[in-house]
Symmetry: C2
Subunit: 293 residues, 2 copies
């Protein structure tokens, strides 16, 4: 009798690492959740988070004799499109039977469409997009803040803060968004704001994004101009994904619902809801990569 | 007989430190030039550069009995508007008789106008501006890249590179500026460009500014749009300095000549040429601060 197979999908991101454990029939056995797993930001921590999330899932499954050594795994990780980081991830001494490494975008795309074909736009702390058409993969955007990542939380917060400083310098009109940004920062002293912002990461800027988004709903003219700018970029991305031949396109990530309601009807018609989360896409890819007994 | 007085002016910047030595009659005795002197970037190096530039000037003056201990000095340094950096500079064990610490903007303004009153806009690697009206000092902009510094070299290069990546992603039309940017980077591979740009400082971005500026003169539509954006910002700064009551306004720094020719006639009429370099302003302030015998 053939040995029972187990497939684990990992979605590793900058804030958390999710694991999903399924059997050969595609039944969910257990899940795991651990800390950051972005090898670009911290490779050692990413390794630890992956091991921990997998261990949690195995423990929770509570199947006699099941250990990590029996798992066929697909890791979806940010940054592994860069050869140096892919090499790091491929050389981790992971306790699994088999490991396939691919990008977080790839597993998210497969998850969103329940199929290897389609395209996604992710807008959370950062922004990026990915298409898989006739098995050809194309990544668009995702160049990182401040060079790219338009339409992301970091970009929204940065736009709002940059405008706020110009308004405090009396170079541009003040609006309620400017006052709200100062309240969020706890000061309207330009020198203090700049001193604090010297050490800002993408995540710090992204924490200010809600100030901009909330003021779009209040019809603040500056917040609206920023949002229109981001919309123009994201719509261009979606049209490009459609031109590439992607039949199914989903917008995912923490800010997705704010953007999709803002798109023009023509662009909205190109979008389909995401069917499943990224870690489910990773399980699909693990099963595909290691289908031999 | 009263002892002869000696005044030294220091202009400390991110790339070099200039010293100017004058006697009590305002006669130039010697100059000195050393490395970076920006206490925000590297306080120890800034200290060393100041000591070295001063030493060079004293040696070059070749006056019997003249040593650093006889100098009344004004240091014009970036970042000392931030209290923490001012404290560092004020506590340096400098070998001078007397030391006054002020900002690089202040000494540049006094130099440009040969008077304590006036305003300046600096556009080089970074951008910032300063007004002294009725002895009230106001700093505008200079919030640092990427939050501020619009119209600077770093900002121009960043705008050009950011657009180039969008063009390579086929989200925006390509133009000759995009091809020239790829030649300057040695590649049109998005992944390689992004990998390299991960570690870019303001100075790295500023090195790409000439690509944008050159294409403005070639009527490249994207380079022109970027330049118009920067012009809008810098004109707003100049109009604000004028509103503050500054009678004499100068635009200085490595990119100043590119901008001034681009301004609308109304704004050009508000501008006056800089009379003297920043280190000369520092000498004026040293003489003013330590005029007692």
């Amino acid at each position: 009798m053939a040995q029972q197979r187990y497939f684990l999908g990992i979605d590793g991101g900058g804030t958390k690492c999710k694991a999903r454990l399924e059997n050969a029939n595609g039944e969910l056995l257990a899940e795991g959740l651990a800390g950051p797993a972005n090898p670009v930001q911290n490779a050692d921590l990413a390794f630890q988070s992956i091991v921990e999330a997998a261990h949690q899932a195995v423990q929770a499954a509570n199947i006699p004799g099941l250990t990590e050594e029996k798992l066929s795994v697909c890791l979806g990780l940010a940054g592994v499109n860069v050869p140096a980081y892919r090499t790091i991830a491929e050389n981790w001494p992971l306790p699994f039977r088999q490991v396939k490494v691919t990008t977080d975008l790839h597993v998210a795309c497969v998850g969103a469409h329940g199929s290897p074909e389609g395209a996604i736009v992710i807008t959370g702390t950062g922004s990026s997009s990915f298409a898989s058409v006739n098995n050809v993969h194309t990544a668009i955007g995702g160049h990182g803040f401040p060079l790219g990542d338009k339409g992301s939380g970091a970009w929204l917060g940065w736009c709002g803060l940059s405008y706020t400083l110009e308004a405090l310098d009396k170079l541009r009109p003040s609006t309620p968004m400017v006052s709200a940004m100062c309240r969020a920062l706890g000061t309207d002293n330009t020198r203090k704001i700049v001193g604090e912002a010297l050490g800002f990461t993408s995540r710090d800027y992204a924490r200010l994004a809600p100030v901009v988004v909330n003021h779009v709903y209040k019809h603040d003219p500056i917040a609206t101009t920023i949002m229109e700018d981001g919309k123009t970029y994201l719509e261009a991305v979606i049209l490009r994904l459609s031109d590439l031949g992607a039949k199914r396109i989903s917008v995912i990530g923490g800010l997705s619902s704010h953007w999709t309601g803002w798109f023009t009807p023509h662009v909205q018609q190109l979008l389909s809801p995401a069917l499943n989360p990224p870690e489910m896409g990773a399980v699909v890819l693990a099963r595909q990569a290691f289908k031999e007994a």
